[in-house]
């Protein structure tokens, strides 16, 4: 029964450890998904931001070309467009920076959690190995204790053997006693029979002498 209980305890120990690691991995997956969302958001904002930066550069180039062509009015229109693009760039700057920061923090979080899980997995493996080693040692100790038990068993058998030998000796003694009793009885009967024969002989002699 102890073996069964130990076996259940071992299985519970190992499965609890494995479940803990599984739970951590689920948590990591959630963090990766959150991080992926944050990265997508940042990349989208960054692309939008870069589009306005490019537009600003393009309107500046057009304004230059207009001035080179002595077309100041056209240059002003181009610069007005550039100013609009610059406003967009400025308004997006904070959002892009925040999105980048969030994305980087989450990525670092993923890296850190991944490192911790790898460490936890290593620890779990070590703990299971130590538990198995302890169980093996315990079994060896139990086996050695079993050898001591067998010594006791052999001693008991020897005791039984001596007891049987004693009984056998007693039996033999009784047998021999019984044997001597029989001999006495036969001798008495033999004596008795001898006396009867003598009597008959005497009687026969008397009968013949008459």
């Amino acid at each position: 029964m102890n073996t069964a209980i130990d076996s259940i305890e071992d299985a519970t120990f190992e499965s609890t450890l494995k479940q803990t690691v599984r739970d951590l991995k689920e948590e990591l997956n959630t963090m990766v998904r959150t991080s992926a969302d944050a990265m997508s958001n940042h990349n989208r904002l960054e692309a939008e931001y870069q589009k306005y930066v490019r537009q600003s550069d393009e309107w500046k180039e057009r304004a230059k070309k207009a001035l080179e062509a002595d077309n100041e009015e056209l240059a002003k229109k181009a610069l007005a467009q550039k100013a609009e693009a610059d406003r967009q760039v400025a308004s997006m700057q904070t959002s892009v920076d925040q999105a980048r920061e969030t994305s980087e923090k989450l990525k670092q979080g993923v890296t850190e959690l991944r490192r911790k899980i790898a460490e936890a997995e290593r620890n779990a493996s070590t703990l299971i190995a130590r538990k198995n080693a302890a169980n093996a040692q315990r079994k060896v100790a139990e086996a050695l204790a079993g050898v001591a038990d067998t010594d006791n068993a052999f001693a008991a058998i020897n005791a039984f053997e001596e007891s049987v030998a004693r009984d056998e000796a007693q039996a033999k003694a009784y047998e021999s006693m019984a044997g001597s009793l029989d001999k006495d009885l036969e001798a008495e009967f033999a004596e008795l029979e001898t006396s009867e024969v003598d009597d008959e002989l005497e009687a026969l002699k008397k009968e013949m002498s008459q």
Binding site: A4, I8, N29, A36, N43, E46, V53, R114
Partner: protein, 209 residues
Amino acid sequence: MIWFLLAVLIVVVIILLAIYMRRDKEQTLSPPPVENLAELSVAAATVGDNISIPGAGDDYANLNFTVDRKNRYESGGDEWFELSGQYNGRRIHVEVSEDDGVEVTVNLSRVEIALGDLGGLSEDDLTRMDESQDQSESLDYDGSMWRYESSHEIAYFKDDGSESEGYYSWNFREQNGERVLSVEKFEGEPFEVSLSRRVNPDDVQVFRN
């Protein structure tokens, strides 16, 4: 008294058997292994994934982009693919091949390179290299020597579709460096030169939602 002890023993045995059977059932119905999103290989990356490569961006910044295209290539029985997305206002490409392990090259499309920039390389030179396939051939560019590696026709499957477009490609590897120069020629189009840098595949992080 004996009957009472026997009854207790039977109850204990039944409880232990029930625990054993439940444990066996739990082991049989053990949950499937958790999908490890944190260990996704770049070889498994696809459209919608976010790629992050530390130090592979402009001026050694981190390269971050969302894959919005995945193109496939085939040549002489080999197959590889390219992940593409927007980075710093331009389209960039990450090529992934799995010949002898995973190899990843990043093309940031940062500078436009003309054929004439490659140490006076001419179309005749390219034809000669292709015919001889002589890997002792080389050219000079950006202060480095670039060894001719291979040239072959490649089938390009846009968005991993079934229709392909063929083009010819010459590859040069930087001696004592991590960069690769590719000269490409589509039919009816001028020569195009692109510069890629090899990165450690283990450095590529794939984030999937």
